[in-house]
Subunit: 482 residues, 2 copies
Amino acid sequence: MAKRTRIKDLLNTTEFGQQVTVMGWVKTFRNNQFISINDGSSINNIQAVVDFNSTDESLLKRLTTGAAIAIEGEIIESLGKGQRVEVKVSRLEILGDSDAEKFPLQPKKHSLEFLREIAHLRFRTNTFNAVFKVRHALAYAVHKFFNDKGFVYMHTPIITASDAEGAGEMFRVSTFDPDNIPRNDDGTINYKEDFFGKATNLTVSGQLEGELAAMAFGDIYTFGPTFRAENSNTTRHLAEFWMIEPEMAFYDLNDNMDLAEELLKYLIRYAINNCSDELEFLKSRLLEEEKQKPQNERSELDLLAKLNFCLDNDFERITYTEAISILRNSKPNQKKQFKYLIDEWGADLQSEHERYLVEKHFKKPVILTNYPAEIKSFYMRLNEPDAEGRRTVGAMDILFPGIGEIVGGSQREERLEKLEGRMAELNIPTEEMSWFLDTRRFGSAPHSGFGLGFERLVLFVTGMTNIRDVIPFPRTPKNAEF
Amino acid sequence: MAKRTRIKDLLNTTEFGQQVTVMGWVKTFRNNQFISINDGSSINNIQAVVDFNSTDESLLKRLTTGAAIAIEGEIIESLGKGQRVEVKVSRLEILGDSDAEKFPLQPKKHSLEFLREIAHLRFRTNTFNAVFKVRHALAYAVHKFFNDKGFVYMHTPIITASDAEGAGEMFRVSTFDPDNIPRNDDGTINYKEDFFGKATNLTVSGQLEGELAAMAFGDIYTFGPTFRAENSNTTRHLAEFWMIEPEMAFYDLNDNMDLAEELLKYLIRYAINNCSDELEFLKSRLLEEEKQKPQNERSELDLLAKLNFCLDNDFERITYTEAISILRNSKPNQKKQFKYLIDEWGADLQSEHERYLVEKHFKKPVILTNYPAEIKSFYMRLNEPDAEGRRTVGAMDILFPGIGEIVGGSQREERLEKLEGRMAELNIPTEEMSWFLDTRRFGSAPHSGFGLGFERLVLFVTGMTNIRDVIPFPRTPKNAEF
């Protein structure tokens, strides 16, 4: 057959009468006449019309949901509802059958839970076509944003011997035969015999290596997989997920916040401009889903309104200290509706508090800054003690409605003595981290950076509610299928 | 100080007289007057001129190689050689000192071996600035190429329970305490207790998952890290490297070759168009390096000529059978200069043979097709037996001068029975791979794909000769530093 044309292009064509070849999968076949075909290029199907009088009946019987077919025919104006063009089939070929009795995806609504079990087939549904198209668009927009600004994309290492930020439990990486691990005379494991000559893990963050690069290139970003071996089975955690981590020399905390806000707005706008069909579909899907909920739990805004709302408003920037004061005086705190009541300055904020600030108090994205040093990482820049003598760091977290923390960042501690002091406090060995400290020894400069959890962004933009539904093959406790 | 302007932008400015702020690192300081500053945005430095009469001497003494500084001043036309503009400094601030006695990077030539030891600082050299700028440009061009063609970027899993192609030894991933591994009653390891409830590894390829996605979206690509636990300490192997793996439904072997050739030419052209300063520098670097070699080992073409040569010529497409015939009759085979002499059809080609075909015989990139089934993977499509009854598969490898195999791909076996037959031959358990076989059970269709080793591409375009020098922090046997 001739070279195929993508359905996405055909749906937009105005050249009626042209002969085309279409290949794709049968979604439905109605009245022995109308084939709805999808080739993945668009969330929308094209309708093909076969003349059942001139077509072999055995062929028609094989037009089952999921079958792969190739057709040739003429593009004609459609008289039916819901489509502008259709193909009048002159030749039909079955490329691969799909046994209607066995094919798990029937033309009906399947639960997201069921589709997760068949993650290898769920791509063929409208919902996951839309979700992964949006995911693609957002990933591309990340690269475009940074490339256009002159940032250098760095592939920081996945296998590492360092624990970047004590960010959580790590996966061990080894080539040892677990039945025959080499030992030293004292019985300890002889890691010198392991592949890398030392104990290694999967990275939890590319930040520290990113800082090394920023102190040479000025502006860099990473976009790669990161890992947490935490046994948390929630709708918001994955063991393997993708992170975007820009690091910028000569940026202070305000520059950092400006960049993060600009990035998030750019990405949301890019999706709105480039995924209109997908977002319309996902908006309707979400409205359907929310109908199952009691009225007071439904969103006030639909998906597109929520996205536009983020674009139209400056993110609210407040300090941790201001946030504590708002939360302490809030209704849910005074009525003891919070699970964790806010009493003292220094408390770590929980998801319920973040959501209160964003969804109830400010009703827009919030950037919280200057957290207590005690609840943040060693590499964050120490501020001068405040009027009460309390010690804070130049951290900034961006909180989004429905998501909570979507960005976490800080100005980095560029002063060698302060950094070494913090590492000593937290018992972080400075010798192993000598390469990191070198950036502070040789030509140190103020610099900042942040991490954006890519799946949380995709969750926000698609309106999906389980993080397992926005990554192709989720890795979670007891699950590494496919 | 005011917002900084990037040196890259200043070097192109024509607005003389403007006041600017520059931040960066001191490369050299000459005659107590001329500071050469680099901020990483360009491989080129900007010259700043200080008035030593009006500047504190203690400040001038701190202008050592590697120090981070901020200056304010006026952009003026330069009278010196080698630059068009310079900054007349009105204010100078040291952001971070660099002890000249201790800073490992002096303004002299360092060996690549030495720089590998200080990979965290080598980014600040001209060579590595150029290499990683080209790497960035190539990575961006990969995304742009596929995005513009409507391909969907898929993040295939890094942690996997399947061995995609038996492509080599794998790294084990586990959260077991190696001193206390849970056992079953019979003494075997109880992987049900491990994080994922089974034994898991780092992926060697995203291809199989990519195929699942291609059979829904039509055209997809991956771009992510892959791993080989092979103990090979060569200039061409890494334990952790990045791969680009497109998979296309409805593509046959010719479509596959067309796409791969188009992609490679696009990437090389993109680098030439967007990295002219960097490639000029790398061309000179390579010429210098080659001066150390005997005349007959030097390249016939310089770096840019070699890149342009790839653009100007169609890649030569020949079958494995034709290649064997050329090699069997070649001088080095007849004079027994090959380490592995080519005698029988069926022999696996070694690097020396690939290089002979590309560099001596055809003198251009070569695509070899239709290899013996016995030396290729199970998922490659079986051809009809040839005239002599020999069994080949629809594989295609692209060979590049100096690099050898840069792309490996094939049409995939879409026929369920043939695929199951090959898996049985090779003792690959079909039960665990049921999800993979489902694509052949439900709506199978001809499809193809290939893998492009990203570091090999960067090696080729930059003219570097050791793969450790084109990835930020190389992972090799006994080395996982930084």
